[in-house]
Symmetry: C2
Subunit: 232 residues, 2 copies
């Protein structure tokens, strides 16, 4: 498998996909057209409008972007495209729509059979084993929380450290993930904004300027340094 | 119906239930024993341990607390108690356990038939129409997002205003609730920590020192002043 899983699609004060520019250039250098999955719909934007944003974001790479919803016969046509990009937004809505359109199985097979998959935020979250570590609000009810499972762990995008000055009584991100581990066995990688994970076959690499927070059941969380990592 | 729905069980630097002391005194003044629903399990604490915390919290009121899981025949025994308190924790876990134990229907009927119900955080969230506006992480998959529906709206506990200085790219609470309204019609009340809603039959009152943020579909959110309110 070939994956590029980013915590966020943009950094504060930057343009869409700007911080990932060099990485995307290499990741999709074999193709001039990819398919976009707009189902996470940030701000409930339409599939068309969201695809237009992705299309513009890929102009600098001279890569054409087609929304998966624009394909008349996605099951047949998907092989015409050199890769897949799933954008961020609401993870519950993304997963529900993937199941309802039956594109879940279609995309899963394609990626397992080698189609490069790029995700940001919700799009990276669904690459994990489940959406059980999303930060999103459950605005719709998906038929399952099971996600693509391209990687043998869960991702928590937009990971934030506890704020020691906070007087807020809601749980910290770390507390939430520790609770998750009482009910779920898989490791969780808290991916900070500006970090991404690159997967090439069975090689995993953390990229970007930051460490990531690695949570394993029954273990004290640790910081994962940028570079190759192995969860076995 | 008689409800006391609090945003949180404790305020920063205070003891458990401390800020609600006078209110609880009045709310449960007709009884010396209540049932506690420990299923939200903050930090995945056990039902017994969580009930012990609630038991201690109610000592100042000379009210005995029994965990609903401690009852041999909850369907028969529930009428022996003067009210119900559902504590905070993880809303997904709370709702899932309510459905699995079949206490969902039992509690719902009791409250509709007049048993006073107090909730904090997750316990207040499930008093609304759905858990679709929880802030919690979906650590388990409930068979439905439909909640008790004691009130004709949804509650967002621990409501926080957008931080204008934030460089974080995750959605603000307000953005999440606006997204919710693209897929769900019910009003949402963003209840700040330190606020609670009291319901007596069809009279609704916002209490505590803060305004609440009221979100109605297709309307600009407004601040609800403490005091009586009516959503019709």
């Amino acid at each position: 498998m070939k994956l590029l899983l980013a915590s966020t699609s943009k950094l504060f004060g930057q343009k869409y996909l700007e911080y990932l520019r060099e990485e995307i250039e290499v990741f999709f250098n074999h193709t001039d057209q990819i398919v976009f999955v707009p189902y996470a719909r940030p701000g409930a934007i339409s599939w068309d409008d969201y695809t237009a944003i992705a299309r513009e974001g890929f102009l600098p790479f001279r890569i054409k972007v087609k929304g998966i919803h624009e394909l008349d016969h996605p099951f047949r046509q998907l092989s015409d495209f050199g890769g897949i990009f799933t954008g961020g937004g609401n993870t519950f809505l993304l997963l529900k729509t993937l199941y309802e359109t039956e594109h879940f199985t279609l995309l899963r097979e394609k990626v397992i059979n080698g189609a490069p998959y790029m995700g940001s935020s919700a799009g990276s979250n669904v690459a994990g084993l489940s959406i059980g570590t999303t930060n999103d609000m459950p605005i719709v009810y998906p038929p399952d929380f099971a996600a693509f499972g391209f990687v043998p762990f869960n991702i928590n995008p937009h990971y934030v450290d506890p704020d020691p000055t906070s007087r807020h009584m809601g749980e910290t991100r770390e507390q939430r993930i520790l609770e998750f581990h009482h009910f779920n066995p898989q490791p969780v990688i808290g991916l900070r904004e500006g970090s991404w994970i690159q997967v090439s076959d069975k090689l995993f690499e953390l990229k970007g300027p930051y460490t990531a927070r690695l949570f394993r059941r029954d273990s004290i969380p640790i910081e994962l340094e940028p570079g190759r990592f192995d969860l076995n």
